[in-house]
Point group: C2
Chain length 347, copies 2
């Protein structure tokens, strides 16, 4: 585990993108969202993946020169054709447009179809909240989840996130998938020779198992509840936008394969509806009331959604961003591939 | 178990409301939503509760003559002061206004503060979908749920629902609470001398238990996930509207007590964004793909969200609405109290 200067590391990531032939604005959006995701502690969806993303660009699985286009819009909504370019930049264009519209109408919905993987949805929600908007984001994903009564991958365990600005506290935010656990955790349990918790996966017959060595599929959060939410995300991302519905390849499985994810963004401009200072106070009061509630035996703290992430974020700001070994390894490989100086990023 | 003519039974419920002194439009909205909720099979939140609602009206816990007022609005949103009147009528006013706004701007958000209990949120989402809108509704509720690290009731297990219009199929819809199981199921297990499934509740120390005889609190769906969603519902209902945050009394516990629930409604006008016939086809394709997926061992069908509810609805339309014994008992008591003819409703 090393620590890097997050700003230098962001520049490093942006430089890598540019040497892979991405335009400057695409490179900087990609670096910004990936490194911020690391800073919030969501390492599985941050700069760890920059190496495979750029391999995907190299092999045509992400279209290098793509430019997103608004293909239809109203005062409070827009559909963007992503042209299979970098998901991070498509997301940035959607974010900027959505916030602009929400400033005019109070709320907005923007969806990008035919994009590519856009990392962790939480990083977008957080940015929206920092700018004064109650923000939601969600993506459809590859069909790695079964549904009650089924077997095999039937729908994506599509993630969604929200973030809400507060007053003296940082935004409250949540970034979750609609399965009980993440697929990566099943793979880790397999490698470690461990079982997964009951309810996490089903076997090749669609029956509950705790054995990650089966030909498993993820099981939805709470059964019909997570399934129902995942279906709604499919509606709000791909079905309503005219994007590719359900059949999204897993982006990391085959580098040259185009993976046309759809992603949605929703904004509500708080200051349209309530004085933002008052809203912040009301948020702070709710936060305080929950945090000061009686604790369970053995617990000394109640976390608000996002608390853990913001603690990691503060640590990264103050002491430098911790990079786990697998990210350092990928960064060094990237440095070698693109002839960049990673050493310079170290704290 | 008896069957009633749903239309006659709706009239019966409306008559009961009017004899309790509610205005005609309040009576008909209340009867409509309650009986439709029964028709969809959500008996716990339907006409079973009309008797206690009217006792609440009688004792001042719901304000008989209240009129909802729009207290602030923009082109795509509105905040309604419910003046603690009947939640069903406040909801109807919010629904009508929200759909009107969504026709103009594409999407809308309407929230009612200081309302009262509004039954099952699914019935509103379904109505919106039937009229061509992707619809969400949610309510904050009494604090019967703990959160990870806490003990006792800290937040409501606030329910939310969505419904989406389809083509040849009925709307896909989901109506769920943010706890793992409903409080009523815990009470039923207690009465029956049974245990509840692991993960459903915590005991008075905030520790997991399966024993409903403890001083239990509900546990959130998937722990931090359900907690995070419940917090978001609190934001979108009470915090943003200026309503009462977190501290809502349980409506049925004390009849004279005002219970100022806040409820939100979100609409997206499908036809603004896509030809509704095409959208319906895209929905039908997704539905068909999921329903025709491989089945788990021992399963012969995959249900779409809402399938079971629509089957009950069709049965009620065709053969009459089944009323379980507890609802029949309440209806007969209501008939006696308000001097109405319940017998006339029977099939």
């Amino acid at each position: 585990m090393i620590r890097v200067d997050y700003q230098k590391y962001m520049d490093f990531c942006a430089d890598a993108c540019m040497r892979a032939g991405l335009r400057q604005e695409v490179a900087s959006a990609t670096a910004y969202y990936l490194v911020r995701t690391d800073m919030l502690g969501t390492y599985t969806h941050g700069s760890l993946n920059l190496l495979p993303y750029l391999k995907k660009v190299e092999t045509g699985g992400i279209v290098r020169d793509a430019r997103p286009e608004v293909v239809s819009e109203g005062s409070a909504w827009a559909v963007i054709e992503g042209n299979n370019g970098m998901g991070f930049y498509n997301a940035k264009v959607a974010m900027d447009l959505g916030m602009k519209k929400a400033k005019e109408t109070g709320l907005s919905y923007v969806v990008v179809k035919n994009s590519s993987h856009y990392g962790a949805c939480g990083v977008y929600a957080v940015e929206g909240a920092e700018k004064g908007f109650i923000t939601l984001s969600a993506s459809n994903v590859a069909k790695t989840m079964t549904v009650p009564g089924g077997k095999g991958g039937i729908i994506g365990n599509s993630p969604f996130s929200y973030a809400v600005p507060a007053g003296k506290y940082p935004p409250v935010f949540l970034d979750i998938a609609t399965s009980n656990i993440a697929g990566m955790k099943v793979n880790r349990a397999k490698t470690a020779g461990e079982q997964v918790p009951p309810g996490s996966i089903v076997d090749e017959n669609g029956l509950p198992t705790t054995d990650p060595n089966t030909n498993w599929a993820l099981y939805p959060l709470g059964g019909h509840k997570g399934y129902g939410i995942a279906f709604f995300i499919e509606v709000m991302t791909s079905i309503l936008s005219g994007g590719v519905v359900l059949d999204i390849p897993l982006w990391i499985k085959s580098m040259p394969t185009i993976c046309p994810y759809s992603q949605m963004f929703f904004f509500l401009n708080v200051s349209d509806m309530m004085d933002p200072t008052l809203f912040g106070q009301r948020m702070d009061d709710a936060i305080t009331q929950i945090a000061q509630s009686p604790k369970a035996a053995g617990s000394d703290r109640i976390y608000l959604p996002g608390d853990m992430e913001w603690e990691r974020y503060q640590d990264a700001l103050q002491c430098g961003l911790k990079l786990p070994d697998d990210i350092e390894k990928n960064a060094r490989e990237l440095a070698e591939w693109k002839d960049l100086d990673f050493q310079n990023c170290l704290k």
